[in-house]
Symmetry: C2
Subunit: 736 residues, 2 copies
């Protein structure tokens, strides 16, 4: 219902809700089955639904369109209040995960490290981690601000601390339960971001009293962008150069207190400032930190992989475990990257839902008559224009393709980290080699998937905003803040370009080993890097396999075409490299390798899941057929998008693109279009997760949108619309 009763509401020109409802009645898709597919398993699906219900029904955590009008200070304060609320949910979630509500003091007992309770495990956080991941979709700055503490600070300690240090900081001091201390992650500096190895902050060992002195030696060494530093952190993990007797051992990690945990006063020697306004996520209190002779005890160096021993006679020994020392330094970032692939799925789902509903409900231009004039017929729904389908449907398909790979990556991450933890505790060196190799693969694929999907979703938000015309530019329809909050994902926790290059260089190295030395471990690499199997490379070389997607029933051909592209691209790079030996000159192609690898992985993982009913939970044939069309569309859309590369490397002939690829693309889009409302409904995002009235479920676009605008901008009842600063205007207009 509109708030404005002065107009006749009985006979509106448009009835978008009617169109949207009609699509729901005509679609035969089994939405529940699809939702289970997208949420990975029935158990995880149920948990997702339960948590979304709790998040959207909690009066502290809920977010509505008034959110888009908050200024920076308001955002920060509200975010802090929400964090305090989340701390309570966390206790609840740990109890639920342990199925232990009888011990009313469970959290206190854990913190006291009471022997009656087993130590905190990662399984204790399964529910809360998911809660945080879902919150990222409605209030990203909130989940980041918590994530800095739990994810970055916490994981840095878990990845680099000894068991004792982990227990002390996370459990006894309470950090893991958001009690006692609140942490931040002081890695980047004003002058150094991606190049962690060259950070300039120093940690000088004082032999005489077993302490470290932390210093910021120059302006560019100022810790910069540190989330939580400006207002909320009591402690920080600081990346600093370990210097002992003048020798530089490289960058290590140290826990440094920043503020008194009771009064929040800064510790002496610590200088902190506010980074201020950002493009998005202003609810996070990013700050800068300078250290002036800050002294910390020796125990505050995280020393799982490096130990400093001081016998007191000027004899200081340093022991480093080189295999893991370097990787572990970055492992805190790994969790973020893995989470960002999941975020890509959820952010994509949100904006795809909004734009699809708007495209179905919005009408524009009557059909043209033969002489090119507009007829008097009813205006056409946007979604019925092929160009509009081209702008919407492939983005919807993209979101579908991200989900399986996001869940798989998350599972692999937890499994590998657990393995690493156990192997490094057991000090089993053979096992260590294997887990290092697995960790390396995880680095490659998470980097490639993070970079590719955060870029794809940035484009998705931008493109879909434009499909909503002017209404997409209103803050109340979520795109503006959504985009601003999103795009930092392309930069932080590994700049996308740097990550793409790193992962592509590793793939190139693997390719060299496989093609030249026949080295390929199918147990280790068979799954993610199947295209590097030497026998497949040989088949590509000898044209025994060729790109061919004519046969729709040959589903694997839609993956294979990317495998061939990858091999041919790698061969091409190898050839050029032989000539000029300058890897930098090839970096534009390397970024593409990372992208193609991600596309390949996404297709492969989706295919694996959907072809197995036990994994896909999709038993309905019609639904399955549509899901396969989405799979095909994704492949075909990107073939067309990268047709330059496909043609350059001669996977296709010039005419194939317009005769085969593009007709298939438009045919698939038209097929999927008939179910597009059902496919976006299948994300099962309630209105208060979307927080965009033009995308609300009931499809009553204009009333919903109008009402939210009026709610947030109430008309002045007295004064009849006189603006507060009208004197500036009247004196201008009446000036002599």
């Amino acid at each position: 219902m509109t708030k404005i009763s002065s107009n006749d509401q009985t006979n509106p020109v448009f009835n978008p809700a009617k169109f949207i409802q009609k699509e729901r009645t005509t679609s035969k898709l089994k939405i529940d089955q699809i939702n289970t597919f997208l949420e990975s398993t029935p158990e995880r699906r149920d948990l997702t639904h339960r948590l979304i219900r709790e998040i959207t029904n909690d009066r502290v955590l809920e977010t509505d369109t008034s959110y888009y009008d908050l200024n920076k200070s308001q955002q920060r304060e509200i975010t802090a209040n929400k964090i305090a609320r989340l701390a309570l949910y966390m206790e609840h979630d740990i109890k639920t995960a342990r199925n232990n509500f009888e011990n009313k003091n469970l959290i206190q007992d854990l913190q006291k490290n009471n022997g009656n309770e087993p130590l905190l495990q990662s399984s204790d956080f399964t529910i809360f981690d998911k809660r945080l991941s879902l919150i990222a979709n409605i209030d990203p700055q909130l989940s980041t601000r918590v994530g800095v503490h739990l994810g970055l600070f916490g994981n840095c300690i878990k990845g680099n601390g000894t068991d004792e240090q982990i227990t002390y900081w996370l459990q006894e001091r309470g950090a893991a339960m958001m009690r006692g201390i609140y942490g931040c992650f002081a890695m980047t500096e004003l002058g150094h971001g991606s190049n962690v190895g060259q950070l300039q902050t120093t940690a000088i060992f004082n032999e005489s009293n077993n302490t470290f002195t932390i210093n910021t030696p120059n302006l560019t060494a100022t810790k910069w962008w540190i989330g939580g530093a400006a207002h909320s952190a009591t402690h920080s993990v600081v990346y600093a150069r370990l210097i002992i007797k003048g020798k530089d051992y490289g960058v290590k990690t140290f826990v440094v207190p920043l503020r008194n945990t009771k009064t929040f006063q800064l510790e002496t020697g610590v200088v902190i400032g506010d980074i201020g306004a950002k493009m998005g996520r202003d609810g996070i209190d990013n700050g800068w930190i300078q250290f002036n002779d800050v002294v910390i005890p020796k125990e505050n160096m995280l020393c799982r992989f490096i130990q400093v021993t001081n016998n007191g006679n000027g004899d200081v020994k340093v022991k480093v475990q080189p295999q893991l020392d370097q990787i572990s330094g970055y492992s805190a970032l790994l969790s973020g990257r893995v989470n960002m692939v999941m975020d890509s799925f959820r952010f994509g789902a949100k904006f795809a839902t909004i734009a699809t509903r708007y495209a179905v409900g919005r009408q524009q231009f009557a059909p043209q008559t033969k002489d090119g004039k507009n007829s008097n017929q009813e205006e056409v729904q946007l979604i019925n224009y092929p160009l509009h389908q081209y702008r919407i449907i492939p983005q919807l398909a993209l979101v579908y393709l991200i989900s399986p790979v996001a869940f798989k990556l998350m599972d692999t991450y937890y499994k590998t980290l657990d393995e690493l933890y156990h192997v490094s505790t057991a000090k089993d060196n053979d096992a260590l080699v294997i887990v290092s190799a697995k960790l390396k693969n995880l680095f490659i694929s998470s980097a490639s998937l993070k970079a590719t999907n955060t870029w794809f979703v940035a484009q998705l938000i931008d493109e879909l905003r434009q499909t909503c015309g002017g209404h997409g530019y209103s803050q109340y329809n979520a795109f503006g803040k959504g985009y601003n909050d999103w795009v930092v994902q392309c930069t932080w926790e590994g700049d996308n370009t740097v990550l793409s290059l790193t992962s592509a260089k590793s793939i190139l190295k693997k390719f060299g080993d496989a093609a030249q030395k026949g080295k390929f471990d199918s147990n280790l690499d068979g799954d993610e890097f199947g295209y590097l199997d030497p026998s497949f490379i040989a088949e590509v070389y000898t044209n025994q396999v060729t790109a061919d997607i004519n046969d729709d029933s040959d589903l694997e051909s839609f993956i294979q075409v990317w495998a061939i592209l990858l091999v041919k691209s790698l061969v091409h790079i190898g050839k050029v490299l032989k000539k000029n030996n300058d890897i930098n000159s090839l970096s534009k192609l390397l970024v593409q390798i990372s992208r193609f690898h991600a596309i390949y992985l996404m297709l492969k993982t989706f295919h694996e899941k959907l072809e197995n009913e036990k994994e896909s939970y999709i038993t309905d044939d019609n639904t399955k057929a549509t899901m396969w069309n989405i799979f095909r569309l994704f492949s075909v859309y990107y073939i067309d998008k990268y047709s330059g590369e496909f043609l350059q490397l001669k996977l296709f002939k010039a005419d194939d693109i317009s005769n085969v690829i593009q007709p298939k693309l438009f045919k698939l889009m038209a097929l999927i279009r008939t179910d597009c409302i059902a496919l976006s409904d299948a994300f099962e995002l309630p209105d208060n997760m979307l927080n965009a009235p033009i995308g609300f479920f009931d499809g009553d676009i204009y009333h919903n949108y109008f009402n939210e605008v009026v709610k947030n901008n109430p008309q002045e009842t007295n004064g009849a619309g006189i603006p507060p600063y009208y004197m500036a205007l009247t004196s201008m207009l009446s000036r002599e």
Copy 2:
């Protein structure tokens, strides 16, 4: 100098200023000549510099980094104060343009329509229009908010009103001089944007008393997005359906008073609300309007092309001049489109300057040793990585290519509109046919250039922000608000997709006439549509001309390749259309046609200007050579970007892309890279126009940036950094 003295500033790790200064001493480019080229002529260049000086030195108009911290209410009030200030500059500018400072009452005399002064001419506004255009680059919401009144409201009256109406509203009532009344432009409605013909607001003629009654018949007919409506407009031009005796004559324009010009109270029957928060440009008070039986006199219908006469005996006659009636309806938007191409140049210049300086000053990663490790050498400047050159240099080239076409389009616009005005006054029907054709061409090219360049510059801002890493995400470095303010240009005053389709369809029609009927008017179309010359089309058909850019000295070949692509694309579209007769199915290709047409025009206009020393003002050979390299690079960059299309249409062979195009691309980038600081200096944008410390002229990136952050976020001197809401945090951390 940094504000933080606790750190040793004497020996910083990095010295970005040194690098940037060094490039200035080594470059041999004649920056002044380039600046004259970019600013069109020496006279225009001098005016630009003078106006920029005035804008940046006026304490009311100046904008610094504190701008990025303003909330919506502050932005709106400050913008209103700036408008009042601009009104004074406008008087000054009119006097300057008339070279008449003796008549102290010039503005009052003009308003009184005093016969001693000639009527206001468009030449009176040359200086002020330029002032506004330059303001758009530092404070876009200010220029838009003024532009709504002068550009949209004013141009609508100029385009649709009779001479008497123009004189009355713009001169006697004072609108043209920002006195007496302030206008807004009520075209779009909640339910209709691009489809102007279907707007729903009604204007019903009352025969008995010669008035119109304006009504909003339903919610979707609510005027929506109306800039200036929420707070500042006293009057509006309203697009409404003219209804006489129940007959609908389509959408016409009416001047409707909204507020009392003294008290600013709303007129009776007018309901106005605030649209609220937007993705960007919150300084503009966009509003919505509903009309409830608002009565206006007959004279308030703008009637240059439509007249309603009422003899009082129930005999009402309507006379329409069909040739111009429709075009004129949109002509108010034309000025905006033309201005947006100029904005593309200036916005592009701003962000290219910031990113280029940062890329030269910022260092990242030491060179790698042979075994792939980082060496101990100094870290490499970002700009020296080929991939970084690929991200920066083509964007710089893009800006260079926009400038000549932007100035030419602006000149054509003024010339054509003047012609239209004179011809329609003289009622010369033959001349009217010619000017209509010219106007149509102006519609095609302005649509194609507006859509293409606003899209390109949106990508430019996004891509260049990413090249600045995290620092690009700080609001204080201009990219965030810059992007948010910019992207609405892709939607308003003609949605880019709709404009691309419209212009491409017109090109396709011209192509049909040329190819099938040999119809081609070289006087009219020879310049902008040279590729449609039937003899050229025949040469492409018979392969007498082929794409070939091997010879760098054959400058025209870099344009011709796009001419061939256009013809081949049009032939392809024609073929498909013959088969399926469904233009909608080809819309993806049509968008490309519009884009290719814009690229062709940009190359052609740049070439025309640079090859003629009298027009280019570039006499230095070395400078000219670099300018030609920029021209080549632009062509080659987009060939590579659209290699899919070039290969599909067989302009090149698959190997040409990697053997010819890409090596040429990287070679050109490396050449231009050596002068990249000079080329960005040549935009001559002072620091307070850039308003982004990482891009300031002196190149002292880190100090400048640090100081602006601290200035806007002063550290609390007492309380030692305790956040205002710390109780929420301490009570969470100490909870039981």
